[in-house]
């Protein structure tokens, strides 16, 4: 090419460019008209089949480099994502804790229900609202009182069995002395 005189060189270049531009336009038209089944699409798929092993190999080799530099450019968004994920995790752990206690409560209530159905004396169902405040008294307070027909001396049971008897009653609450209490003698409970 360097031996040709200058004007001829310019013309052959222009010819070359025109030829290449025409070839490009032909390719565009072929692809446009051919759609999914055109010859160029098939050629494209064939090329992909040849190239993809090379891409995979190169990707495997170069992925650590890409990850390293990619992490640098993404560091802001990675940090934000990390923060978000931590918050989500904390929330989920809380929820899980709530669920566990709800499940336990559910179990207990179900057992109480079974118990109540298995007794044929009138039973009142209550809940412990306060534990005893002293180290030497094993007393709990329940949320049933005289308005629920609770009297002194009534036995108190839980699904696992007898737990105590009523020692003090007010209108809306009652104190139950547990049989744990050394002061309680079982023969007094009836």
């Amino acid at each position: 090419m360097a031996q040709q005189p200058l004007y001829k060189r310019g013309r052959s270049t222009r010819l070359l460019v025109v030829g290449l531009v025409t070839a490009s336009l032909v390719m565009i038209t072929l692809d446009y008209r051919g759609g999914q089944t055109g010859p160029l699409e098939v050629a494209g798929r064939a090329t992909l089949a040849i190239i993809s092993p090379l891409q995979r190999a190169m990707g495997n080799v170069l992925r650590p480099i890409g990850d390293f530099f990619g992490a640098i450019t993404h560091i802001g968004s990675l940090r934000a994502e990390n923060q978000e994920l931590r918050q989500d995790l904390a929330e989920l752990i809380n929820q899980q804790g709530d669920e566990l206690s709800l499940t336990a409560r559910n179990d207990q209530l179900e057992r109480l229900l079974v118990l109540r159905d298995s007794l044929d004396v009138p039973v009142r169902t209550g809940r412990v609202i306060a534990n005893g405040v002293s180290n030497f008294e094993w007393v709990v307070t329940i949320n049933l009182g005289t308005i629920n027909d609770i009297r002194r001396g009534m036995p108190v049971i839980a699904p696992d069995g007898l737990v105590g008897h009523v020692v003090k009653v007010t209108r809306q609450a009652a104190d139950v002395q547990l049989i744990l209490d050394p002061d309680c003698s079982t023969c007094r409970c009836s």
Partner: protein
């Protein structure tokens, strides 16, 4: 023949790199356009006709390998290679910033041309704002990569050029 083979190897390597490593390293969300980079540098070193043929080959390779509408990148890069080769003949400055500036400017113009042709064919899936942003960011990325790529490509060009024989 050897020249064609070595440049073909360069184009293939560039496309493989672009679809693997550079797919992960983004500049504010844009990936580089290595085919444009190679075409412009080739045109700068070897002249307009080599720039046009190299651009055609690189564009065809990119369209086939990256599963884009075939022919548009080939058209863009052919014209881009020819234009850069012609312009280069009229620029006399020996400044080392010339490759960077030329690559950046040519990539931006090339990408906008690509967008325009795609739009005319109805193949443009993105909005003009996105296209503009990609053009700017990708050309900046190309410009940043030019100081790394230019010496390598010049070595390839000089290595494959036919040796001149001096007779006297």
């Amino acid at each position: 023949m050897r020249r064609a083979l070595s440049w073909a190897a360069v184009i293939l390597t560039a496309l493989l790199l672009q679809s693997t490593v550079f797919a992960q390293i983004e500049l504010f969300g844009a990936k580089p356009e290595l085919a444009y980079l190679i075409t412009v540098v080739l045109a700068m070193i070897e002249g307009p006709s080599a720039g046009a043929s190299g651009g055609f080959a690189a564009g065809m390779a990119q369209d086939f390998l990256l599963n884009q509408p075939k022919g548009i990148t080939a058209l863009t890069l052919t014209l881009l290679g020819y234009a850069v080769g012609m312009i280069r003949q009229y620029i006399a400055t020996p400044s080392p910033a010339l490759p960077v500036l030329l690559v950046t400017g040519a990539t931006a113009v090339g990408l906008l041309f690509y967008g325009l042709v795609s739009f005319l064919l109805g193949e443009l899936d993105v909005g003009w704002g996105f296209l503009l942003r990609v053009a700017v960011l990708a050309s900046l990325y190309n410009g940043i990569l030019t100081p790394l790529a230019y010496p390598v490509l010049r070595r390839v060009a000089e290595g494959s050029r036919a040796k001149r024989v001096f007779r006297w």
